[in-house]
């Protein structure tokens, strides 16, 4: 199918983009389009206006320093993944990005778009939540910083207002002595994962974030849990579901296997 008609705006500045969004309650931001365009073509969404942010200068920056990694709204997954600075400062970002779709999708899709899209089966919302990152958001009344733990309110739903634009995401740096790991199981290379897990180990602190086993990206604190109980304790906080791709039982088993795997590999990778 083809998308339903919409008004199209391609503003050249952030202020014009925010004004366009504020002027139409049915307007939506178009970034890489790798999630939005399929929804439009399947007519699962029919916004009255698309505000294409791709012509706004200065939004495609990727910077990394001792504090962390800042990714602009137009930085494509592929460019973030290819950045040596990002890899050095927060290796969990490229570990997870390499599992986001295929290279061709990553050439166009944006990391910030994926964070706003808030798919519980997506890799990057879990990474942002696990690391305690944030989104920088601009709206009609100025800018604000939204911490990851406030961002995700429901399936495919984040707390941004319809007239707000996320301009960048911040992923804190990996602390000296800490370790991270990411793994997932998908039916086919490049598919959304049946279950995915990201671990952050820092001294006695052990945290694991999960995708595809709860309505929102979910991080479980597993500090002090014996190694043979990690997955079972995590499952007390998760809600694996049946669907055409896998049974709930199989997903629960993947949680056990992946939890053990990512915690072990994050410990091995501590620096």
């Amino acid at each position: 199918m083809k998308p339903a008609p919409f008004a199209y705006r391609r503003p050249g500045s952030l202020a014009d983009a925010v004004a366009a969004l504020a002027g139409d309650a049915g307007a939506k931001v178009l970034a890489g389009g790798q999630s939005l365009v399929p929804l439009l073509s399947m007519r699962l969404a029919a916004p009255s206006m698309l505000v294409d942010i791709n012509a706004i200068p200065g939004l495609d920056t990727i910077t990394a320093d001792d504090i962390g990694v800042t990714v602009g709204a137009l930085a494509r997954h592929a460019d973030v993944l290819a950045s040596d600075d990002v890899r050095r400062v927060q290796p969990l970002v490229p570990m997870a990005l390499s599992r986001v779709a295929h290279a061709t999708i990553r050439n166009r899709g944006t990391t910030v778009g994926s964070l706003v899209h808030a798919d519980a089966a997506a890799e990057m919302p879990v990474v942002l939540t696990l690391l305690g990152g944030s989104l920088e958001v601009v709206g009609p009344s100025g800018s604000r910083t939204v911490p990851a733990h406030e961002l995700y309110v429901g399936p495919l739903e984040c707390c941004l207002h319809h007239d707000e634009i996320a301009v960048s995401a911040f992923f804190p740096a990996l602390a000296p002595g800490a370790g991270v790991a990411f793994d997932e199981i998908a039916r086919r290379h490049g598919d959304y994962a049946l279950v995915g897990a990201a671990a952050l180990v820092d001294g006695d602190s052990v945290k694991v974030g999960y995708l595809s086993v709860a309505d929102v990206p979910t991080v479980v604190d597993l500090s002090g849990v014996p190694d043979d109980r990690l997955g079972d304790v995590a499952l007390e906080h998760l809600d694996p579901a049946d669907d055409v791709h896998a049974t709930a039982d199989y997903r629960a088993q993947l949680v056990r296997v992946l939890t053990a795997r990512v915690v072990r590999s994050a410990r091995e990778g501590t620096r």
Partner: protein, 194 residues
């Protein structure tokens, strides 16, 4: 209610094409219907199959997941742009011909564009890298083995600057030279794609 239309210039294979399109016109449809460049194929229309892949500023992108109006500031290369101005085949096209890298050909334009960009970034891929290069494209005919061979052959051709073959003048079949006679056991297939 008449739908709003936008005047944009699409730069495709080095030629500027002015078009007037509604915002919702997919780039894939603009290429095929507005410009008549039907080499770009449309399979799934939601980003999964890769048949519609074109190069946008040199990078492989799904043309079914981009609006034509969003492409106005970009240089687009379609499969038609991979051929020399005299109609001779590009190295990836020639490798597909030699290695029997296609059957029905529906998926082929997406593979050709993807591999062209892939070999530019990595001119000497290992076997694993060659497989990875085409991992985002689906083919329901070939079983992929000959497509991977074609990636490796195209790398050779591009490196050696081998003479190009005109499509109307394919190489004479010489015994032992046809790629399909060299098929591995794992590809002695019935044509059921993997």
């Amino acid at each position: 209610m008449t739908e709003e239309r936008h005047d944009v210039v699409l730069t495709v294979n080095g030629t500027a094409h002015p078009v007037r399109v509604p915002g919702r016109r997919l780039l894939s449809d603009a290429l095929r219907h507005d410009l008549g460049l039907t080499g770009t194929h449309v399979g799934c229309e939601h980003g999964v199959c890769g048949a519609c892949t074109v190069l946008v500023d040199g990078r492989p992108v799904r043309s079914c997941l981009m609006f034509a109006v969003s492409a106005q500031d970009s240089e687009i290369t379609t499969v038609e742009g991979l051929t020399g101005s005299d109609g001779s085949l590009g190295p990836v096209q020639q490798a597909f011909l030699e290695c029997h890298g296609l059957q029905c050909g529906f998926c082929t334009p997406g593979f050709l564009t993807t591999i062209t960009a892939g070999l530019r970034d990595n001119p000497s891929p290992t076997h694993e890298e060659a497989r990875d290069m085409v991992a985002g494209n689906l083919c329901r005919c070939t079983g992929y083995q000959n497509i991977v061979k074609a990636v490796e052959r195209a790398a050779e051709l591009a490196r050696d600057g081998a003479p190009r073959v005109h499509p109307a003048d394919p190489p004479e079949p010489e015994s032992g030279q046809l790629a399909y006679e060299e098929r591995d056991d794992d590809n002695a297939s019935t044509g059921l794609g993997g």
